[in-house]
Every structure is written in C-alpha cells, then in structure tokens.
C-alpha cells in the first residue's frame, strides 16, 4: 500500500501509520491455538440481527478459537456492538430485537430452546463500555457479586477475591481498602474492578465492548496488559475503535462495515496481516485512516 500512496500529499502520515501499526501487531506474540484447557472457543454461524424492521447485521460467521483474542473494528454503526451482544444473548433485551443464525459454544447452539440462558451468560462474561460497579456494594462484594447472583458456592472466597483482583491488575491498588465502595475508585480502576467481577464466575469467554473508550491512556495500558494475561486462560472478544489497541492486544482482527444497508463482516485475518496486507480495499482504507 505504500507504493499506492507515493503520489499522495499526505503520504508521510498515511504510510507511516500502518507500518507502525503492523510492526506493533507482529511484535505481539501469536499463541499456539488449542494449547489450553478452557473450552473449545466460540463460533458464530451466519448471524443476522434486526431491530424491528431495521436489518442491523447480516450474515456474520466468525470462529473464535479458544485462547485467542479477537478484535472487532469498524466505524460507528457497523454492527460490532450488536454482534458482540448476540454472542451472550444480551441482544434480546431490546424489545424489538430479532436474530437469525447460530452461536455455538461447546458444540451447542446457545439459542437452542433447551439451553438455560442464565448458564450461557455465566460461561460468556461481558465487560461494558462504561464502568458499572454496583453502587450498593463494596469493592470486595462487587468482585464476588456474580457468585451471589448466580448462587454459586466457592470454597475460599478470600483466595478467589485476591486471584480475580490480581488477574485484573487491581490487587495492589485496592488490597487495603476492600471494604470501600466501588464508586470511590477512579474510572480506570472501576473498569478493572468490573473485569475482576466478571472473572470471579470463571467464564470461558469474555466479551468486552469498547472497555477502554472512557479511560485515560495509563488505565488503557493496564487493561491491555490484563487482556494479555487473561488470554492464556480464556477466549476474548473485544470491540474497539482504537486500531492501535486492536494491533496491540489481538491475535485476530475482524473488520465490520455497513454500506448503508446492514452491517457486514468484510474481512477477518491474523491481526498483523490485517494491518500489513489487508485483502479487501475497504479494510485497507479503514486501517490506513483514509476511510471517508
């Protein structure tokens, strides 16, 4: 793509950006797939989504291999968030919502009527865009709230509490004030608290819907480190508007786009390939910042 931009006035910017992105992406380690015990990943087969008559997402098939981090990128309104919400059945909370297709977890369609939806959400956790610690609970109670909500038993709560907070990279900051309220933390800490909270029920898959969009770069970095660590024990899907972030944290990247009609997945590939050698012209335009 650098040759294509040579005549461009802005070629300094447009060519340096992707090359730096791809260098970051190739620097991020590629993990051997199937090398860990946490389930068999998640697979979306021909997923469509509607809001009333509006067809928001069309025919997305994506295989999230176990233990990988997949980033979903694309401009606003392309259906990324809608898609991620179909993966743990949060989509159906919108009254007019409808869908088609299958989402396979452990060999079973999570939309099958014989499946208990609450157990699905226990296996497929979610972290939201805005940090949302439960206001009536302390930091410690927040982390363990999933166990209470789902009425799960655990042998040693203190160990679990520490383990989750360590994994979320928050332990050192809060270990002396576990009885303080979650609202007393900063935004970045609150988001890591929410991550710790979703880890406590030991999900196989963690969905993150723009988890860093409201955070400062320091907190963003901490959360990216957390994602890196978590990816050895679970499958992670992250929606992000930040392409550098996608390049830094993910093994695979899927590019979504809407051409005025329903959002579609244009391309999915290993992250370094998407940023260095995108197959589709539209992906190239987007990742090089020439999207208009």
């Amino acid at each position: 793509m650098s040759t294509e931009n040579n005549g461009d006035k802005n070629n300094m910017e447009t060519t340096t950006t992707p090359s730096s992105l791809s260098s970051v992406a190739s620097a991020s380690k590629r993990k051997a797939i199937n090398s860990h015990p946490m389930g068999t990943g998640l697979e979306a087969r021909g997923v469509h989504a509607w809001f009333g008559k509006h067809h928001a997402l069309a025919d997305v098939s994506l295989d999230f291999a176990a233990g990988t981090v997949t980033a979903l990128i694309g401009p606003s309104g392309c259906g990324k968030s809608t898609f991620i919400r179909t993966l743990n059945r949060m989509h159906e909370f919108i009254p007019t919502a409808a869908m088609a297709g299958q989402v396979i977890l452990d060999g079973k369609d999570i939309y099958d009527p014989s499946i208990d939806v609450t157990k699905i959400r226990l296996k497929i956790g979610m972290v939201f865009q805005k940090p949302n610690p439960f206001p009536s609970m302390t930091i410690g109670e927040n982390v363990l709230s999933g166990l209470k909500l789902a009425q799960l038993k655990t042998e040693n709560k203190d160990d679990l509490l520490e383990e989750c907070l360590v994994k979320a990279g928050l332990w050192n900051e809060v270990k002396d004030r576990l009885n303080a309220h979650g609202g007393s933390l900063s935004g970045g800490q609150q988001q890591r608290l929410c991550i710790a909270r979703s880890l406590a029920v030991r999900p196989q898959v963690l969905l993150m819907d723009e988890p860093c969009s409201a955070l400062d770069p320091g907190s963003t970095l901490r959360i990216e480190e957390t994602i890196e660590e978590l990816s050895s024990t679970m499958t992670i899907v992250i929606v992000t508007h930040n392409m550098q972030q996608a390049a830094r944290v993910s093994d695979y990247t899927a590019f979504f786009l809407s051409d005025g009609g329903p959002g579609q997945m244009i391309e999915v590939a290993p992250t370094n390939e998407i940023f260095a050698r995108p197959r589709d012209k539209r992906t190239e335009n987007y990742v090089t910042g020439r999207f208009g």
Partner: protein
C-alpha cells in the same frame, strides 16, 4: 442495496420467546389449574371467590415452577415462581379497578339520554325518572372548578418544583418539607380554611372560585412533588451544556430542562387533576352545589359532579340512586377523556 436482496430469504427469529409448544403447555397448565381449583372448592372446605383465587394461584405457581425445574433446575424454578407470583399480584390489583369500572358502567348507562347533557335539575327533583332533567350544570361546574384550580396550581406547583431543583435556594429544605406535609392535608381542612378565611369574613356567599381555591391547595403539593421528581431525573449534563453555550439559567431551564421534562410534567398535572376532580367536601362547603346552570364563577352556588352524585345518593329513592350512578359514569368518562387527550397532546411532539 444489493445486500438486502441476498438476505431476503432469511427470516428474523426470536428464539428467546416462548415457542408454540411452550405456549400450549402454559395454556394447558392454566386450564388444568382452573379445573383443579374448581374441584378443590367443590370438595373441600374452601369456598367463595377468594378461596378459588388462592387455590388457583397456588396450583398454577406450583405447576409452572415444577415445569421450569424439570427444564433448567432450581434457580430457574425460583425465577418462574417469583414471576408467577408477581403476575398474580398484578392481576389481583386489576380486579378492584376492573370491578369498579364494570359496576359504574352497568349501573350508570341506563340513565344516559341526550337531554342529560343539556338540561339541569332546576325544574326536577332527584326523585324524578331518569329521562327528565340532566346534569349539564354539574358537568359545566366541574369543568370550571377544575379549570380555575388548574390555572392557579400548575404555575405555582411547577415554579415551586423549579425552585427546589434549579435554584436550590436556602429555603429549599423547609419548602420541600412543607410541600410534603401539605400533600397529606385532608380535603375538608382545605375547605374549612377557605371557608373561615375568605367566605365568612369577605365574600359571604358561595362561589366556584372559592371552591377552586381550596382545590388548588390540594393540587399544588401533588403537582410540585411530582414535578420535582421529574426535574431531578433530567441529567445535570444537559443544564451544564446549556449554560456552557452561554445561556442564562432562566433560558437554559426554559429551553432545555423544561422541554426535556415535558412528558413528566404533564403526568404531574394529570395526577394533580386526578387528586381534585372527585373532591366533594370542599365543594360542598364553598361552591355550595346548586341545581341550575351557573356560568359565573364569582357569584352564587355552582353545581359539580361530585356534589350531584352525593346529593342524589342522599335522596335515597331508586330513581335518584340511578341518577347518581349515571353521574359517576359521566365523571369517569370526562376524566378518561381529559387524560387521554392530555397524553395524546403530550406525546405528539415527542414522537416527531
């Protein structure tokens, strides 16, 4: 738009909704519970509608939870149990409302005839048959009384709410306390207050405007409290955004806060009207009743529907009691009409 063509064959589905089989099962459980409840009432000591309802709810809840337990286990069964109990509670709350409406309709509709709305009772006594006389004077009276009370209490109530939420002056706390205390004032107290403060010393005669004053005393706290709740729900970001664009506080409130809360403020007004439309005691003392058309709110007694109903029931003959039911029906219809019109007008611009 070629993409839409390709996907036309794919139909939107809602796999999370109950399937046909689930619905049939629910229907079967419902019928079976009704049957079992009937049987229980027949063969055991339980009797009456209450016994039937209680045993029906118990059987239905047990069967629904049992079915969920078989499908997804105990947590899901508890969920179903709570859902069914909540639904039964909702149904239970609807019973009195539905039976009131049914009772008023079934007893009141006989008295409706075209002349009812154009005649007054000046030439008839409540004991005359239902096809002479009318309650036109009472309808007009109620509308005038409510309209004057509305004109007084809506500005006062909403301005009070704005003082409490927007200005947040030093007097906020005492005013909030006063408004809360006032919302519990019995209507007869408001009536007696106006009676002793204005009617006896100054005007010395019944008039509609005095009745409206006492109604306004009852309505202001309702409007003010509900409006305050509604205005508190408007995010302060909006106020900051308005002020940050260079608006004064008054312009921001008038252009951004109040329009954003419009639907809720309308609810506040409707609740206020609902509070006063059926008030009888202060009307009795101040507007004084009356059985002829009187369009002058400042002079002489004025009829109203609650007074008409009270007066007709008091007479006690079959004809007058039938007349009272008709009055109730008309009052109910007027309120229904006012509320649905207000809702329609309030929602119209929001939808645009």
């Amino acid at each position: 738009m070629t993409t839409n063509k390709i996907y036309e064959s794919i139909q939107p589905t809602r796999p999370w909704q109950a399937s046909m089989k689930d619905r049939l099962t629910t229907g079967f459980i419902l019928i079976f519970s009704l049957f079992m409840a009937t049987l229980l009432v027949k063969i055991t000591g339980l009797s009456g509608k209450l016994g039937f309802f209680v045993s029906f709810v118990f059987i239905f809840v047990a069967l629904t939870s049992g079915r969920e337990y078989r499908r997804f286990g105990s947590a899901s069964a508890k969920d179903a149990l709570v859902n069914t109990v909540v639904a039964a509670g909702t149904f239970l709350t609807l019973i009195p409302i539905a039976s009131i409406i049914f009772e008023v309709f079934s007893k009141g509709y006989k008295g409706i005839y075209p002349g009812l709305f154009t005649h007054d009772m000046s030439l008839n006594s409540p004991n005359d048959p239902a096809n002479v006389g009318g309650l036109g004077h009472a309808i007009i009276g109620t509308l005038i009384l409510v309209a004057i009370a509305l004109v007084i209490s809506v500005p006062v109530g909403i301005l009070t709410a704005l003082y409490l939420t927007e200005i947040k002056g030093k007097l906020s706390q005492p005013i909030r306390f006063l408004v809360q205390a006032m919302s519990g004032v019995p209507s007869i107290v408001a009536g007696l207050f106006i009676l002793s403060a204005i009617l006896y010393p100054i005007t010395k005669q019944n008039s509609a405007v005095l009745g409206s004053l006492s109604l306004a005393i009852l309505m202001i706290p309702t409007v003010a409290r509900t409006s305050e709740e509604v205005l508190n729900l408007i995010p302060s970001d909006l106020r900051e955004a308005g002020v940050a664009l260079g608006g004064t506080q008054w312009r921001t409130v008038a252009m951004i806060v109040v329009p954003a809360a419009k639907s809720g403020l309308l609810t506040a007004v409707i609740l206020g009207v609902a509070r006063i439309a059926g008030e009888t005691a202060p009307i009795l003392l101040l507007a004084g009743g009356g059985d002829r058309f009187n369009l002058d709110p400042f002079n002489g007694p004025m009829g109203s529907l609650p007074y008409f109903i009270w007066n007709s029931f008091k007479s006690g003959t079959p004809e007058s009691i039938a007349r009272a039911w008709t009055g109730l029906l008309v009052l109910l219809m007027i309120l229904l009409f006012l509320f649905s019109t207000a809702r329609f007008l309030g929602n119209r611009k929001v939808g645009k």
